[in-house]
Subunit: 136 residues, 6 copies
């Protein structure tokens, strides 16, 4: 069993906001992250898959296939978008990095099985200081 990790980047706007709370409560809990007009980040995402080495290629999966899957299933849905207002990727969910991580897991899991490997970890850095990991 060998593990392959591919990194991608995307830039998105969002705000942290619980629609069941008033603005005061949102500000108290989420601080500057609840700024009504939003703010944004350069997110970095690492996707780790695991599997056996294919003896014909020396690969777990072909990186071109993993890159294409990540771009179609994730990057195209979120890059240069507003996570709260554009599309339905995060619909009905607070756009915390934790929730984003789980949504991306669901968006990738089947496609990676179709490549002959298993999704092991989705990791997202919102900033260089704060990172979220999900192992399913």
């Amino acid at each position: 069993m060998i593990y392959l990790t591919r990194r991608e980047h995307f830039a998105a706007a969002h705000k942290l906001w619980n629609p069941n709370w008033d603005e005061t409560e949102n500000q108290r809990v989420f601080g500057a992250c609840a700024n009504p007009n939003g703010h944004g980040h350069n997110y970095t995402i690492w996707v780790t898959v695991k599997g056996e080495i294919n003896p014909e290629t020396g690969f777990v999966v072909n990186l071109k296939d993993l890159r294409d899957l990540m771009r179609k299933a994730v990057i195209d849905q979120v890059d240069h978008k507003n996570l709260d207002l554009d599309g339905d990727f995060m619909q009905g969910k607070i756009s915390s990095t934790e929730n984003l991580c789980m949504v991306i897991w669901q968006a990738l899991e089947k496609g990676i099985l179709a490549l002959g490997a298993t999704l092991h970890e989705v990791k997202i850095a919102e900033t260089e200081n704060n990172t979220i990991s999900y192992f399913g």
Copy 2:
């Protein structure tokens, strides 16, 4: 003459949009950066000042003073904000990194003179790949 550079970070939402153009023209010129609901970045900013070394301290300027100035004059104006909708920092300007760089120069120039040094460069990275510098 010695040069001191201090780095800070901020996260902001924005879109690239010329209000004199229609949506088609904005999309043609600015591409995904013109997404109507905005997108965002973790900006990194480096401010370089120059001056003589004060023999009593060994400093050009005290880093605490430069940090306080950068936070009050710049970071508090833009961090976790929407550059186009919040406050008047970028008012009437397209929020390109080039324009942002010149506005930050104006916001810092006098305060750095008051610290006994001269502003030399404002550099901003919108992403790790794209950086803007202004020398006044």
Copy 3:
């Protein structure tokens, strides 16, 4: 179960020295790290906690709370200090990164439980080339 990692930095002086050995033996084992007047590092620390996502906030823990805990329990004890001479954080222990890692685990474990999560890993980089991890 989701994992959240927060990074902090601190700068400290120390030396590697076993008081039961003479200077020759300390130099033989610890090399330049046994320089009698000490040396120092910019340490980077990553603290990983795990837990369930709170549906009201989308968070495992509020990053502000984790940051406050890390600063109070760790950074304030070691930043701009001499690990061997200041305070009692490392008292009676050789200030290797391995020992520092275990002491920081003990300093954080209960506070993270009080935030509703579980401490998963303390990782410390003494330099960009050398890193220590402890999982309890």
Copy 4:
């Protein structure tokens, strides 16, 4: 049980090529990586070992010993070399990062036991975007 990771770098040329395939098939599967004259990388390698802390030194292993082992068993075999043409380190294997990772595991496993610790992970980054890990 505590984990220590040491990072090293090396630069090498290689190409991805299955000798059982013709050039068309190699280009189809490996793309630009099958360029007949080869290409190259700055590889970064992280070796993680685990063990108990020695109370006399505060160390799992002495970093000088781990560095010497990594340089002799790995870096000297591959740095400023062509992985496909020089020496027998990768002989008979497609020089994918996956295969390189397993070969490096075999080159280090016994030497680390001789230092009193256990090899836990070999991780290699071919570029900043693509990383392979092997845990034995």
Copy 5:
């Protein structure tokens, strides 16, 4: 006048070799870099252009145009290539980073004028430790 820098990466094989010298002299001067089968690097390149801000766009140049130019004029010529054996980009020149830097300057200078800006600097990092700059 404002300065814009764009970063790109490429991976290439090469060796340092003066064809007027024998192997002993090449090894003496170039060391491991003269390994006959070559070695390789992940090169990072930063291209800085300067100009006035276009008031309609807020841009010095459109980053998409600069990226397209860099990819067509430079990256496509060198990425996943052998600098000494493939194409004529470095023909007749020792493939030192110094020479590579000057060749890339010549490959970009006119195209950047056509974008309405002036080439200011070509910077190349062969490794994280060694960087070359050329200002024309």
Copy 6:
């Protein structure tokens, strides 16, 4: 004229302290940096030299020669040392990064002329956020 930059690292302890002031005044001006038992850093240093390309080698200077010079004239004087107490490198000077930068310039200037190039810049990062440059 072409510019070559080489990066090195060193770890040292120091404190900021003006011996003409009492402890209260030192704490007021230098803050935590005046901690009596010292603190320390991983310093990063970049040395930039300029010159013409030697047509026989394609080099401004041979990197091995520059590395040897930097290690002998600088790194061996300061690495794993206390800048205030060990040797005479910083004798009689407050160990600010500004003063350190000028002392390193003096330690390198003649040796670089002897290599056939001219010293252009000494840059030192005390932390990732704070950097000092000196151009002579």
